[in-house]
């Protein structure tokens, strides 16, 4: 904020002046600038057992091909949902996190479409 980064000392020249790296940029670490990366907020608790809690921020990627077992964000009847993708035979289904809902097939006819695959989770505590 002040423009001082450990370099421009007034009395003794900073021995670190040529080695300033700045603070860690999480947006870079999570590769959020990639055109295919989007942040998505979780609302709901059915994936708690899988370590995803309400209010977590998912980092999802629309260029990644989801495979059997991937966590995905999909549109289900006009709503965006976090679900697990599984393949049975030649069909793909979305499975719920806690097994309480019957799976739905990924198909245009059922208005279920995969939006992106989950690549990371960010959680702020407090």
């Amino acid at each position: 904020m002040s423009g001082y980064a450990g370099d421009r000392t007034t009395g003794f020249a900073s021995p670190a002046a040529d080695d300033i790296e700045g603070p860690i940029d999480l947006s870079e670490a999570l590769d959020l600038r990639r055109p295919s990366r989007y942040p998505v907020r979780v609302s709901g608790a059915t994936f708690a057992a899988r370590g995803i809690l309400p209010d977590d921020v998912l980092v999802v990627d629309t260029s990644v091909t989801a495979v059997h077992g991937s966590l995905v964000v999909a549109s289900v009847a006009g709503r965006s949902m976090l679900a697990e993708l599984r393949k049975t035979g030649r069909r793909w289904h979305l499975h719920s996190g806690d097994g309480c809902r019957p799976p739905v097939e990924v198909a245009e006819s059922s208005d279920v479409e995969i939006w992106a695959a989950v690549t990371g989770v960010v959680r702020l505590v407090v």
Binding site: G44, I52, T62, M81
Partner: protein, 418 residues
């Protein structure tokens, strides 16, 4: 031979909205201009209901037939970020991309063997990664690429792509399309051309150069060469350095009090100075304007503008001081003002103007830097000159604004858990 492509997003603003809200899929969606004034983007479902570009929202909102339409205020931070994403997807596959407008980009496709496969892939990747549907047209000149794109958009049977590299293919379309379809031929030229019996693009291409020049000038002649397949327009990389920085607004309700106007104009000066600093520039000329509505002349009509050359600066407080002074000179009481703005021009790189006689004001510079950083971190104008005021209830109406899904953490897309 060079090959140019043009990729254009279908109903770009609406498509950006749909990308993040599956409830909008297949529904008629209309995005409104600033102040929720009129329709500026429509999905094909909305077009099918008869909604036209420029239709005033307050005139059609109550129409029974349009009860199912989703109206949305324009969300420019979202559209800009989605445009960036489209651009970046394209630069992964094509060596040079020129962002021509927020929703269309020219491509350098020279020396590529299988153009059709590449262009199909461009559409697929953009659609998968950004969720934006597009059409691609290509040919030996920019003007032809633009026409090819329009053809791809108009004819669903082409499945979103149109190749006009071959003279034969061009011939076929040229014969049936009106000259008015060509990029850069304005309405007035079209009337004159029609009057001279130049109706189709074929007529235009075959016409004598001197005649075209007499009717539509040098530009018209250049368009003729381009349509014949001789490239005159090159790909530029990005817009050249901007000529000026502006901040102008239409107010949500008329402003009649001088104090309120002063706060608004100071806000514009603040924002414009911030833009300058963001681009490492200084401005040497400042203009302020205020105006009443040209449509409500019963209240009296007035438009005032005044400008001033100043020592180049990007200091908010200096700009605010000049803006206040200029406003005082043009303010006339008794009017209902609906629009105002600040333009900064004579731009130069930051610090280029510093001289020995006028030492740079280091303290002011670091104060500005600190202000920008705080505002960047905590939101627009958390810190601002006291002159801007706090309650800005003249802010433009944006009653149907969607979240800024990709630029504000508090507004990102929400997913339920299945």
């Amino acid at each position: 031979m060079p090959v140019f492509g043009l990729i254009d997003a279908n109903s770009f603003y609406c498509s950006c909205q749909r990308a993040f809200d599956p409830a909008l899929k297949r529904r008629p969606v209309v995005v409104l201009s600033n102040n929720d004034g009129c329709a500026i983007a429509r999905t094909k479902e909305a077009k099918a209901l008869g909604i036209k570009m420029g239709d005033a929202w307050h005139l059609i909102r109550k129409d029974r037939k349009l009860a199912g339409v989703e109206w949305l205020s324009s969300n420019y931070p979202l559209y800009a970020d989605m445009s960036r994403r489209v651009f970046e997807v394209l630069t992964d596959l094509v060596p040079r991309v020129e962002p021509y407008s927020i929703d269309e980009m020219f491509l350098d496709l020279s020396g590529i063997n299988d153009l059709e496969s590449l262009c199909v892939k461009l559409r697929q990747d953009v659609s998968q990664i950004t969720k934006i549907p597009t059409c691609v047209g290509w040919g030996p000149t920019k003007t032809i690429a633009k026409l090819a794109n329009a053809i791809a958009k108009d004819r669903p049977e082409l499945e979103g792509v149109c190749d006009l590299t071959g003279a034969g293919a061009r011939e076929r379309y040229y014969r049936n399309l009106d000259v008015g379809e060509v990029w850069g031929i304005g309405r007035r030229s079209v009337e004159k051309l029609h009057a001279s019996n130049i109706r189709t693009i074929s007529h235009y291409v075959d016409a004598d150069e001197k005649l075209i020049r007499a009717i539509s000038g040098i530009l018209g002649e250049r368009i003729q060469s381009e349509l014949r397949g001789d490239s005159c327009l090159r790909l530029s990389d990005m817009a050249p350095q901007r000529q000026g920085v502006s901040c102008t607004r239409s107010f949500g309700r008329p402003i009649t009090e001088p104090e309120e106007m002063r706060e608004a104009v100071c806000g514009f000066a603040t924002r414009a100075a911030e833009k300058l600093r963001g681009e490492g520039l200084e401005g040497g000329h400042i203009a302020v304007f205020i105006q009443t509505s040209p449509h409500a002349r019963q209240w009296g009509w007035y438009s005032g503008q005044r400008a001033l050359s100043i020592p180049a600066t990007n200091d908010t407080l200096v700009m605010v001081r000049h803006a206040t002074r200029l406003l005082r000179e043009i303010w006339r009481p008794g009017y209902r003002y609906i629009k105002a703005g600040v333009h900064l021009t004579d731009l130069s790189p930051d610090g280029a103007q510093a001289s020995l006689l006028e030492p740079r004001n280091m303290a002011a510079e670091s104060a500005m830097r600190a202000m920008d950083e705080i505002n960047q971190r905590y939101g627009k104008q958390v810190l601002r000159p006291a002159s801007i005021g706090v309650n800005r209830n003249w802010s433009p109406r944006q009653n149907m604004l969607s979240p800024r899904y990709t630029t504000k953490l508090a507004e990102i897309m929400v997913a339920g858990t299945f």
